[in-house]
């Protein structure tokens, strides 16, 4: 089974880094959708089958915390696994996100941490070796 992933971050460079890291980790990716803020992310969620959401916190228009809250209130999206990847260093805010059922990874991240957390929450394996190109 391939994972359809939605990556939400206001930095296009960061979205590309996260996508590249997930590909290199050997995670079986299907479609990779991208959005620059929470509002656009929710729209993509409503129109597509998504297995995993990776979301930043600090973004214009709608931040990641608000997006996560809205996802959890909607029966169609409330059970989708969410990984927050952010510069956020406040334990108070991180605990709030974890209470809403998200996993948390702080930037700058290591590729191994992303791989391990995604494997853990989706139950889908990734190879330790990068895929042969």
């Amino acid at each position: 089974m391939a994972l359809n992933v939605l990556i939400v971050d206001d930095s296009g460079v960061m979205r590309a880094m996260i996508k590249k890291t997930m590909l290199m980790s050997g995670l079986p990716l299907g479609e990779v959708y991208q959005a620059g803020n929470g509002k656009d992310g929710l729209e993509i969620l409503n129109q597509n089958w998504i297995d995993l959401v990776v979301v930043d916190i600090n973004m214009p228009v709608m931040n990641g915390e608000e997006m996560l809250s809205q996802m959890r209130e909607n029966p169609g999206t409330k059970d989708i696994p969410v990984v927050v990847i952010s510069t956020e260093g406040s334990q108070t805010r991180i605990e709030r996100l974890i209470k809403k059922g998200a996993s948390f990874i702080q930037k700058p991240f290591s590729p191994e941490l992303i791989r391990d957390i995604v494997k853990e929450i989706t139950g889908i394996g990734g190879d330790d070796e990068p895929p042969v190109k």
């Binding site: 600090n58 510069t87 406040s90 805010r93 700058p108 290591s110």
Partner: protein, 165 residues
């Protein structure tokens, strides 16, 4: 200026540049100001237990490499937009990591979107802040023979705790 704060700022900047962009820096203690003619700058503001802003200045020559390393492509494959984006995101990550290092992990800060400061005069203004007091911390670094300086400005006082523990 507080030496302990400088050390913390350097450690966070060094780790971020290395982990995020595979750029290796060394610290320079007694170099002159960065050459304002050939740099780009990004600035980010924060508010919380204390507020202020962080300014990253870097030799223009380093920026294609910074963005290329982050994206995993060749330097000539990066666009000016991606180069600005890479610089802003690097500053964003440094800022997100420096604040809990100063104020502790319980403190909650709001960080605004980083922006690029263009032109020598505006960069000088952002860095020198002629209206206020000087920076709480400055770290000067060298990477691949080029320069990178970071300035931390804090409005009001740095939390007492920072000096105690």
């Amino acid at each position: 200026m507080n030496h302990r704060l400088n050390d913390v700022l350097f450690n966070v900047a060094e780790e971020t540049l290395e982990k995020l962009a595979f750029m290796f820096v060394s610290r320079e203690y007694d170099r002159e100001d960065i050459d304002y003619d050939s740099i780009v700058a990004a600035s980010i503001s924060f508010s919380g237990p204390f507020s202020g802003n962080l300014v990253l200045t870097i030799s223009t020559n380093c920026v294609p490499e910074l963005s290329a390393n982050m994206l995993g492509v060749e330097e000539d494959e990066t666009t000016p937009d991606q180069q600005d984006d890479a610089l802003k995101e690097t500053l964003n990550v440094i800022c997100g990591n420096i604040l809990p290092a100063i104020a502790g992990k319980k403190a909650v800060f709001n960080i605004t979107a980083p922006f690029i400061v263009n032109g020598m005069e505006d960069i000088k203004k952002a860095v020198e802040k002629v209206d206020g007091k000087g920076p709480a911390s400055v770290v000067r670094m060298e990477m691949d023979g080029e320069q990178c300086d970071i300035f931390l400005y804090i409005d009001g006082e740095i939390p007492e705790d920072f000096f105690n523990d």
